[in-house]
Symmetry: C2
Subunit: 93 residues, 2 copies
């Protein structure tokens, strides 16, 4: 996963999809050409929903430039190391 | 989403990830050069897990050649039309 963690990176977690959609719209309206969505584990499905909502309902000129998947090692609440899948979706306007 | 629905296409649903991992291993062991994973909605996260498990634990020579996301219109149990996100992950050996 690219080490880009500038202010055009949006981490998709457990909030309703519209929270992230609005964050992306704000970024594009601020003139950003590229917005990067990142998510882990079960939030990956939500990140895809968010990208699709932005493209289909708000900015039909936004394209998916790249999608990468990867694995991160994390420590869970029981102190065990577990592998978690990640996704990075690069949206370009 | 490509109209490829040959026998190298695996639909990832609600079974445990290992069920799909084994299906993919079987395909590659049968000599397939390419296996395509498809999933919808909340199963998208599982499809990413499956691809990552195959790559990291079983076939380290397998690469993600392409990932596409899209939206399908479906009819839910209440008879309403709803949009569902989809993913297609192309694995290549």
């Amino acid at each position: 996963m690219a080490e880009n963690s500038g202010d055009n990176v949006i981490f998709v977690g457990k909030k309703p999809p519209m929270a992230y959609v609005l964050a992306i719209i704000t970024q594009f309206n601020d003139g950003k050409k590229e917005v990067i969505l990142r998510a882990r584990g079960k939030s990956i499905s939500r990140a895809v929903d968010v990208a699709e909502i932005v493209r289909n309902k708000f900015f039909t000129d936004v394209k998916v430039r790249d999608i990468k998947i990867s694995t991160e090692e994390m420590t869970n609440q029981q102190g065990e190391k577990v592998n978690v899948s990640t996704i990075e979706i690069v949206l370009e306007r």
